[in-house]
Amino acid sequence: MDVDEKLETLMARYQAGDFTAARCLIDRVSPQLHRFLDAYSATRADTDDTLQETWLRIHRVRHTYRPGEPLLPWIYAIARRVRVDHYRKSMRATVRELPLEELPDATAAAPAVLGHAEDLEQLLAPLSASQREVLEMLKVAGMSLEEVARATSCSVGSVKQKVHRAYETLRRTMSARELKNDQSGALP
């Protein structure tokens, strides 16, 4: 299997029933998909479940991908839907569950998080869900504006506006943080 083979080519082979192509696609897309899904999950196990559910949904509707079209918007559009369904399901379950006296520390069970990921989490924390997903797709997953628009079912203009507003929020937050750091550094 050629590691540089285009995702679209792998998808076409997956549609033709090629398991090696399917496996390669899963290996190549899952890391960025996992990060995308992780932002909206309570625990790492929850993200793992959502990732698996996303791939099962992709498998069920793989005939709806049109060869020649960009693949990532198709995958992310499905992942967004799975994420919403998963969130609704977990909210319904949460309402029915009794609260524990002491909640286990979910992060303790998770593998050590990389420094870059921590930075990213901190950076994106003040953004709204829609701004965050657009910025993640554009800057982290490396999709084009047109592809992000396709994945989020909105126009390119709307994506540009969300990115612009996200940057404004991030600038404001970072300025405030720097000011705070300067003030605490100036104290005797």
């Binding site: 398991f19 791939w55 910025l135 126009s155």
Partner: protein, 227 residues
Amino acid sequence: MDREIDDILQSAAGSPREVPAQLLERIANSIAPSLRPVRLLPPTWVLSSALGLIGAAVALIGAARAGFQGFEALDFLSRVLILGALAVFTWAAARRAVNEWTPGSPRRLSTRGLVAAFSVALAVVFALLFDDYRTENFVSAGLTCLSTGVLHAIPAALIGWWVLRRGCALDSVSAGSAVGALAGLAGLAVLELHCANFEAVHVLVWHTLVVPVSAGFGALTGWALGK
């Protein structure tokens, strides 16, 4: 500062998330048993044409049963403008419906925006063509036309949904609304072919209303099915 933000985003992009190998293995194994070649969806233009033809067929059959009095009473220019506008909007609605059933499709306007644009454009066409501003039996005649239009929209919507059933509607409300709008245009076409009441306000209000009302019913059905 933008550079600092970009640096953080780019370093995150450059350091891919570690996904446990067992999880990837589990995913691959879960799809393996049902992995076989799939029959792809037909191209967008084929599905759109099929939906457009369904709309036209429903309109013609409906008008054939009720009578072509409206069409016969219209002058040539009105026939061309009204049926031309209906054909263009039906094509646009059919494309939108197909896109709603295909994940990751391009979208320049929301379905709600598209329905609003259709309604305004149709109202403008009717306002330009009809200038009889009398209103006799405004409500009773209007409700008859609205119900006739919406009732004819139902078979168009059902057949349209059947054509699109192999697709994947990620937003059931928007998808239902798109099919509803398409079906509403078929219902409106029945009225334009049949209804010979050319009072401007009647046509502007009650005929135009068939499209947003059908789209609304479609959205409601989509919401109920997607719950």
